[in-house]
């Protein structure tokens, strides 16, 4: 069983996780064209190399970020989403 390190829960079987796709910036809802939205929702870079992805730990409903090499399928680093997006205000 492949092991993925969850930033909240530590090492867990990969079967406890779901991949949420690449981390991409959402277009400005007020200015985006249909093509922009289509690319945001359906388009994937799918490049070989290191990608930054959303991953979800199902038992805790916890979303975090993983950097993965798409060539070797090796998880290089995992960290809380707050490292990129900051703390959500109360």
């Amino acid at each position: 069983m492949k092991i993925l390190h969850c930033p909240l829960n530590g090492p867990r079987n990969i079967s406890e996780f779901v991949c949420g796709g690449e981390v991409v910036e959402m277009p400005d809802p007020g200015a985006a064209t249909d093509a922009d939205w289509s690319d945001y929702v359906f388009g994937h870079e799918n490049a070989r190399g290191t990608v930054r992805e959303w991953w979800f730990h199902v038992p805790t409903a916890y979303w975090f970020i993983a950097e993965r090499d798409t060539g070797t399928d090796e998880i290089l680093r995992t960290y809380p989403a707050s490292e990129i997006f900051g703390r959500v205000p109360p």
């Binding site: 069983m1 829960n9 079987n13 406890e16 199902v58 038992p59 805790t60 703390r87 109360p90």
Partner: protein, 238 residues
């Protein structure tokens, strides 16, 4: 013997318990399986391997960016590390599940009412960023205890729950028998045990899976009296 259906609150698995010969009594306004007809020997059964249903007992969760600070302001101890549970002065257990979530398990001996006091306080004076999670309705609560508890869990779960890797106070939020569960290690006096909490909709399935897993180690369902007896002989968290 009390009839479970005569109580407004009863376990999600009270039919399964009754089928195993449970004798019920009223605790905290709910029908709880106190023993399974062998009150004198269930303490010994628990020392080896026993499964106790605690679902009708008080428990509550709090969630939100202000939840932990709100609990600390009400003298809830610990809550300083994720996935760590701390015993409270009144015998309740406070578990920090995430930087924004905590779970309170009431005292199993029936003393104290931390869950009720916290719920009443938040209802009376709502705090922005702190929300109640109705764990007593949404989650089943079992306790698997005994010298073979970790071995039994090893047949259902990928996390190493042996005492040297997972001492009392540790929490694993993980998959157990393909269900998402919260596993909290505690000591009932000398007896190692795990609190197990999961989706109440899966309670009957989880009870059956755990009873089946125990058969390899001669485990049995035990009543709340056996757990209270074990707690009475030690200072373990309840």
């Amino acid at each position: 013997m009390a009839e479970p259906a005569s109580y407004a609150r009863r376990s999600f698995v009270y039919r399964e318990l009754a089928a195993c010969g449970a004798r019920f009594g009223g605790v905290a306004g709910a029908a709880v399986a106190l023993d399974f007809g062998e009150p004198g020997t269930e303490r010994q059964s628990l020392a080896r391997l026993g499964l106790c249903d605690l679902s009708p007992l008080p428990r509550v969760g709090f969630k939100g960016p202000a939840a932990l600070d709100w609990l600390r302001a009400r003298r809830v101890l610990g809550l300083d590390r994720d996935n760590r549970a701390d015993m409270q002065r009144g015998g309740a257990l406070a578990a920090r599940l995430a930087p924004t979530e905590a779970l309170i398990l009431g005292n199993l001996t029936g003393r104290g009412n931390l869950c009720g006091r916290l719920e009443t306080a938040l209802d009376a004076d709502p705090e922005p960023g702190c929300y109640k999670v109705l764990r007593r309705d949404g989650s089943f609560h079992f306790l698997l205890g005994g010298m073979h508890a970790a071995e039994t869990m090893a047949t259902l779960c990928g996390v190493d729950l042996r005492a040297r890797a997972f001492p009392a106070g540790s929490i694993a939020q993980t998959s157990v028998a393909r269900m998402s569960m919260i596993v909290i290690a505690v000591s009932l006096g000398e007896i190692p045990a795990f609190h197990l909490l999961g989706d109440s909709a899966s309670a009957a399935y989880a009870w059956g899976v755990l009873v089946d897993a125990m058969t390899g180690f001669d485990g049995k369902p035990v009543g709340l009296d056996a757990v209270r007896d074990a707690l009475g002989n030690g200072a373990g968290p309840g």
